[in-house]
């Protein structure tokens, strides 16, 4: 243990702890901006400087290892003056439109400004980093360089964690900027729309492309507004509205959406179960008929674009199944209208998703019927939370309402799609029982749960030892795909989720870190335990859809509506 004092208070920390860690142990608040608990220390913003007695220069608390005998001051005149001056320099560079910024209220720069009690106009004239134009080219993410404070957190997550390399630092000095290659618009870059950069951006420089107005506009039409709600939305929405992380709010979210004006609220867990029926059948078919293996899941649209860009040679490995959102959209526009005596164009189909990439996915031509999109627009958890607030609804006090039928029933297997390993576990539950005809003694596949970057398991299914792997975060997916490409991976089935942690860590949720993610994960498996049906093939609503309309899993109708094709996008790298 290392002993030091901070502001005169003695504290002991483990070897390797930083001065910031030590201060936090004493509940002393040191402002930070470039520091992020899930990233390597960058020490570039300098807002966290502290004074070490006897040292001429100040130390960045985030990067400085606590050392024996240090006497740190976090509030000396030199520290106060320095932090406030650094903030002043940043503010003179930062767009002055807090009142109508999407991050107002959750902006870390705003918070630091408040914490340092900075209430004057900067002495320096305002000089924006770039023209105050939003880059609106992406369907998922809006980039506004005039709000960038050059902390480098987006570059870190994009390059080090996701290995997408969509945003890199260019120029130097005052002209430093974080842009896609060749300064292309984000929407024409290799960006895979995962939104992890939005999750780490301390300011409004990177935000979600907002679709809320499309909903309010739809209310003024005669259309039937139909929503599907993804598995992890019920896990994350309450947190986005200020409740404890991991607070499940299924019934309340339906109530809130009905109050806002949605006519019907369906559950994407239903098409998650449908996905398992289709994907499981596809996997067994590939194994039996010598098809391309390993088969890789296709639920995560960020992962799909990543594969299309960086691994076009492995596109045959991707399951041809549409994502649950895609399957839902197809049913809403091709099956449901006839059932209720309406035309497809009379229905406004909305998805509520934890995911920014779903906005991109919804615009894929494959996910449309007669050139009209199957999902008209996508609203993320962050946006839904804002809509609920702006509708004047006190979310906490709402009563519960069940999902609407016929797409209101989902199993625990569908629910765990929200966490890394969930699709794999759901598939194993079904594949095992369909192949062997036996009931699983233990349906919890612990080996594929949790936040380990790459998880592996082997499960004996009848005569076949099924080898599976699960990756979340595209840096981990890249490792697995490199192994597949070089023939070193002998798996049958791989699950990939673009976002670290899976959908509960999706870019459309409220701002996260790994600590918050633990509560979300716990909530997912809690829901699974709670639900009466926990296997996709036991979902009666899914089975009756096959009887009434689709025929059999992997059949003709399924292929027409529930399966898709992919596009080689490696040209983006040139």
């Amino acid at each position: 243990m290392i002993s030091l004092t901070i502001d005169g208070l003695p504290v002991q920390v483990e070897e390797g702890a930083s001065v910031l860690d030590a201060a936090r142990k004493l509940n002393i608040n040191i402002p930070t901006l470039c520091y992020h608990p899930d990233q390597d220390v960058k020490a570039n913003c300098r807002i966290c400087v502290v004074e070490n007695e006897g040292q001429r220069t100040l130390l960045p608390a985030c990067a400085s290892p606590a050392a024996e005998g240090m006497a740190i001051h976090t509030n000396s005149p030199r520290v106060r003056k320095s932090r406030r001056h650094i903030l002043e320099l940043l503010l003179a560079r930062h767009a002055q439109d807090c009142l109508h910024c999407k991050r107002s209220g959750t902006c870390e720069l705003q918070q630091v400004s408040e914490d340092l009690h900075f209430v004057k106009t900067p002495r320096y004239p305002y000089r924006p980093r770039s023209a105050e134009m939003n880059d609106e080219s992406s369907m998922s993410i809006v980039r506004n360089a005039s709000k960038c404070i050059a902390c480098g957190r987006c570059e870190y997550v994009c390059n080090e964690i996701q290995t997408v390399h969509a945003i890199s630092k260019v120029n130097r000095g005052f002209d430093v900027n974080f842009v896609p290659a060749y300064d292309r618009p984000l929407g024409e870059s290799v960006c895979i729309n995962c939104g992890q950069c939005v999750q780490v951006c301390p300011t409004g420089a990177l935000t979600i492309q907002d679709s809320c107005d499309q909903f309010w506009d739809a209310l003024e039409t005669d259309k039937l507004i139909v929503a599907q709600v993804a598995p992890s939305v019920r896990i994350n929405l309450a947190e986005a509205l200020g409740e404890e992380p991991g607070t499940v709010s299924t019934g309340r979210l339906v109530t809130a959406m009905k109050r806002m004006g949605f006519h019907l609220v369906f559950d994407t867990d239903f098409t998650a179960d449908l996905t398992i029926m289709e994907e499981g059948t596809e996997l067994l078919g590939r194994v039996k008929n010598g098809g391309v293996l390993p088969m890789v899941t296709s639920c995560s649209p960020g992962w799909i674009k990543f594969c299309e860009t960086y691994y076009p040679d492995l596109l045959p490995n991707l399951s041809s199944c549409k994502s649950p959102q895609g399957m839902f959209g197809a049913l809403i526009k091709n099956y449901y209208p006839a059932k209720i005596g309406k035309r497809p164009e009379d229905i406004c189909s909305v998805s509520i998703m934890p995911c920014t990439a779903k906005k991109f996915e919804a615009r894929r031509p494959e996910l449309s019927t007669d050139e009209a999109p199957d999902v008209d627009f996508v609203i993320t958890v962050q946006e839904l939370a804002r809509m609920i607030r702006s509708a004047g609804i006190d979310f906490k006090s709402l009563a519960e309402t069940p999902f609407d039928n016929p797409f209101g029933l989902g199993s625990g297997a569908g629910e765990i799609f929200g966490a890394t390993g969930g699709v794999m576990e759901a598939a194993l539950r079904t594949v095992y029982e369909l192949v062997t005809g036996e009931t699983l003694k233990d349906i919890n596949f612990e080996a594929v749960r949790g936040f380990e970057g790459i998880k592996e398991a082997a499960i004996q299914v009848g005569d076949l030892p099924v080898r599976v792997a699960v990756a979340h975060g595209l840096g981990n997916a890249r490792k697995l795909m490199d192994a597949v490409r070089s023939g070193k991976a002998d798996y049958h089935f791989i699950e990939v989720m673009a976002c670290p942690g899976g959908c509960i860590g999706g870019g459309g949720n409220s701002i996260k870190n790994w600590k918050l993610m633990e509560s979300r994960l716990e909530a997912v498996y809690g829901e699974d335990e709670r639900l009466p049906i926990r296997k996709s093939h036991e979902n009666p609503a899914v089975n009756s859809l096959y009887e009434e309309f689709l025929g059999e899993p992997g059949g003709h109708k399924s292929h027409e509506l529930l399966h898709t094709v992919y596009t080689d996008r490696s040209y983006l790298l040139r």
């Binding site: 300098r46 290892p65 650094i86 130097r172």
Partner: protein
Amino acid sequence: MLEETRIVLRNVDEIDPVSIEDYRARGGYEALKKALSMTRDEALSEIDKSALRGRGGAGFPIGKKLSVTKAVDADQKYIICNADEGEPGTNKDRVVLSGDPNSVFEGMAIAAYIAGAAKGFVYLRFEYPYIFPILEQALENARKAGCLGGNIFGSGFDFDISVVSGGGAYVCGEETALIASIEGKRGEPQFKPPYPGVKGLFGKPTVVNNVETLANLPQIIQNGGEWFANIGVPNCTGTKVFTLCGNVARPGVAEYPMGTNLKDIFEAHGGVKDGKDLQGFMLGGQSGNLINPDQMDLPMDIDTCRARDAILGTGTIMVMDDYCEILDIVENIMSFFIHESCGKCTPCREGNIRMHEIIHNINAGDGKLEDLDTLEELAEVMQITSLCALGQNSSYPVITSLHNFRDDYLKAIERGQRA
């Protein structure tokens, strides 16, 4: 009249720089041979006795640097010669490298033997392309003669050197930025610790030293640490290679013992050019200090300079005659730092441009008296909070000119207010 004391420059202009025979005829590689006959501790102790301090500007004791890396257990270690001489007006490393490259190679080999490295890099300033072939040819000749490469002089010690071109950025003279640049990354400084001596190039322990520092090592081994320690002044031993530039009658590179008086050096180089009057000096490069003629009686060594609010830095002495406009010079220097700031840390990225902005306004007649307080405060914040020496030092010309040439600022502000 002041005479030069040549240790680092002893062979410059005396030999064909690429000829290994010429270099060996003047005792070249005898020091390496001698070092290899000693234990690594014995060789290190000679360096320690010499009390040689780094010549790149920071003045860190080289013996201490070597002992840190020596103590680390690693499968690979590196020696880097920092030849990214980026200070405008500084030419000393260029003269050494182009005139006597083997003295640097031999110094690197000695350092490598002590630290336990087998591989060295010369990180050569991008703007010195003509030196590249000189180094390559000298290296090739030294290898052929068995002075570098495998099993040097049959001792079992292997050491070879590659020349790497710099990226053309001033900040790459900072050791962690230099390392990033060799690794093919963006040349940006990293927070220390970890220090390069423990975790440097490609994550391996790395000794980074300036050209001039390394060129001293053979003479220290050859003549003994005590011999070297007797040159110069007690805490700052040996010589310093100075670059004289600006409005001086005889500009160029010259080597004098540490502690030699600035006045004597200035006079030895003929004083101000064309018989004009002296206005002042800029010492230590662009991130150095502007002093006025009253401060000229100054022993030029690291500590005395520091104590008198001046800086030895790279040993650059820029002479300014009374036709120079101090504010123009400072404004120009700040535009240099705007260009060269890497943009990583806030104070340097945002501070240099604001300093330039204020000085430009004052110079253009738009200044206010309180601007001088802002300059003082901003300079202090940049000095104590910037990530690397670039941001920590770039305000020195502003702050020293504000102290030593305050009238120039006041007059400019007054002029503006009258207009």
